[in-house]
Amino acid sequence: MKYVVEFEKSGIAKYISQLDFQRTISRAMRRANLPLAYSHGFNPHPQLSFAAPLAVGISSECELFEAELYEEADENIFSENLNNALPDCIRIIKVKKDSLKNCPVNAGVYKVECENAPDAKIIDIFMSRDTIEMDKKTKGGIKQLDIKTDIFGISVNNNTIEMTLAAGSQRNLRPFLVTDAIKKYTGHDCGYCKYHRVKLLNM
């Protein structure tokens, strides 16, 4: 039985790496008495998968994972028990009997609260460029990458930049790279920023 779980990460949860996060969820499922299925073989691992995992440093109100249980569970009880077993910084919003296959994701909407937000003019200058090339570390060394095509939308409101960026296993752009690019191409330093994901989309 597969379930799709919608959850939020706040406070310190943004510092938990993806691998540690998976372990945190599977231990919480054990505490919550939810019969999580394990893969077979010599080194069984819990059947959990995440849609567009977040990079360390980003909080969110719209994350998704899929959990396979070997016994059926009531969706509300699932949600309530898991919430009771999790630290406060991870909250379950909704549990639905479903599969991640039915919830494709290729973009994420981020709110970036800046110490020193750029104004609309700076964003316009930034986005009017033909290409926005940034260094990306790959296995083969540092590569120049045009990130412009991965920015689906960007606007600024008071001290917050809202950006819609590619997210998922095909293409993925981290919002840090966008604030870095703004600095590189416009000279505007956003200062200390808080990155928060508000929505996952399929565009």
Binding site: R23, M29, Y38, C89, Y192
Partner: protein, 600 residues
Amino acid sequence: MTDKIDKILLNVSKPTRYTGGEHGSCVKDKSSVDIRFAFCFPDLYEVGMSHLGLRILYHMMNERPDTYCERVFLPWPDMIEQMKSENIPLFTLETHDSVKDFDILGFTLQYEMCYTNVLSALDLAGIPRRSADRGEADPIVCAGGPCVYNPEPLSDFIDFFLIGEGEEQTNEYLDTYKRCKAQGLSRKETIKEFSKISGVYVPSYYGQTYDGERIASFTAVEKGVPVKIKKRIITDLDNTFFPETIIVPYMEIVHDRINLEIFRGCIRGCRFCQAGHVYRPTRHRSPQKLVEIAKNLIKNSGYDEIGLSSLSSSDYPHLEELVDSLLEITEKNNISLSLPSLRIDNFSLSLMNKVQKVRKTGLTFAPEAGTQRMRDVINKGITEEEILNGAQIALRNGYKSIKLYFMIGLPYEEAEDIEGIPLLAQKILTKGAGQSLTVSVSSFVPKPHTPFQWARQDSLSELEAKQKILLSPKISRKIKINYHTSSLSVLEGVFARGDRRLCKVLERAVDLGCIFDGWSEYFAPDKWNKAFEDCDVDPAIFTRARSYDEILPWDIIDCGVTKNHLMRENEAAKKGIVSPNCRAKCAGCGAGIWKAGECV
């Protein structure tokens, strides 16, 4: 979390070392408690969080409504750099408040090589290093753990030491602190009150004089303080506090599992082993109690691995019964059970075979010495025949590779004993041809309160020469011999048997940048050499042989085992005479005064 800390966490490796907020960690209203206690394990989070003692005392203190115990670890140098540049002082994981604002700062000292970290933690907290320089606004600084069986090298920095097991004593000094605070007593008066608790050692109440390399006198300079500090122990483990829940870290820690402490102490009396002497008498938890603890912790932690912890699990009298009952719980819950510290014999292997999901990749063996004579000298009650049989049984049971642990630099050692190490490995290999063997050789460090406490420790060059001897016999290429740099062992030996003359050296070493000495990437022998030179202290005065009539720095500490017993054992070692274990025959070591465990 303050924005200030938040800002730097993205610039450091493994930020969950510093965030706290794990499942099982304690959240309290800090304004509603009388005592704020900062509990510091002076090493990285993943090391400190693997320590059972910290976990027990943390939950025990937090059971008290009047106390909030919070954890502190030493940040890794990348974090220290960020904290310094942002002016962030050392903080606790629970509230992220500055350690300097706490009532008590308690260190647990698990190994000598964390001493520079203790001073670094004080520096980072903004607390004066030396007890004498602290004022009313500073926390009272105490320390416990195995290293305090010789507390002297830290005596200028720690206001009071806690000797022995902490479960009872902790509550006594928290009660005392609360009373003193309510009465408005000064720091000095409060420490005086602490000193009335059994097992508390206040180093500033004693003074030393020296005669060359020796201590000439060690006497009380304060009225009414004890001549010796007797360690505290828990006589009944079943009826002492054990937490029903544990903290479940986000990041992977060194021992990332439930650890079940099955007993304390050890009946064996290996002559090199400090734990086997200072934790006497051997006291067990009952299988019923252990199963109850295991059930609670499994339910409350969600861990899928549980391990037994003790100095020598094979000596637990109810091992089979315990393993059977644990298997009933673990198998249906998909939990793996690990059984470390087993002697390799038919009984152990039949137990290990019962435990499914055990990986038959490697097995470890600790003969400790290469020849029978040397094993008799150190009282490692194991014969060559038993070792060879064990290896054969292991190979027959499908263990592909075996790892063997040995020591060099032991007292009364001859070249032949060192050559015996590769030769023994060769014999094992010949018995089970076609397999591979790893031999890991460490350098012996004489420790206080053991029969070898008077022994001379080999110098660096002697140890290096002995490492060469290891490689001289012709043996199969399937045997891999590993040994480590000995300079760390020599330094460890200096601090293990050192005295107050080391305080200034330690301070100088920290000023020169020494930190995380236990981590090879940070250990800096050159800086240490300079620190000794600058302070005009010769480290060799602490590694030399001591005579029976000499005052030892740790004579002030009474761990139960008498000096007479240790001398008898050292004399037996010289002659290669083996002593029976506590269960076979009581040797009257002195720990019997507690009338507990095996001594009853």
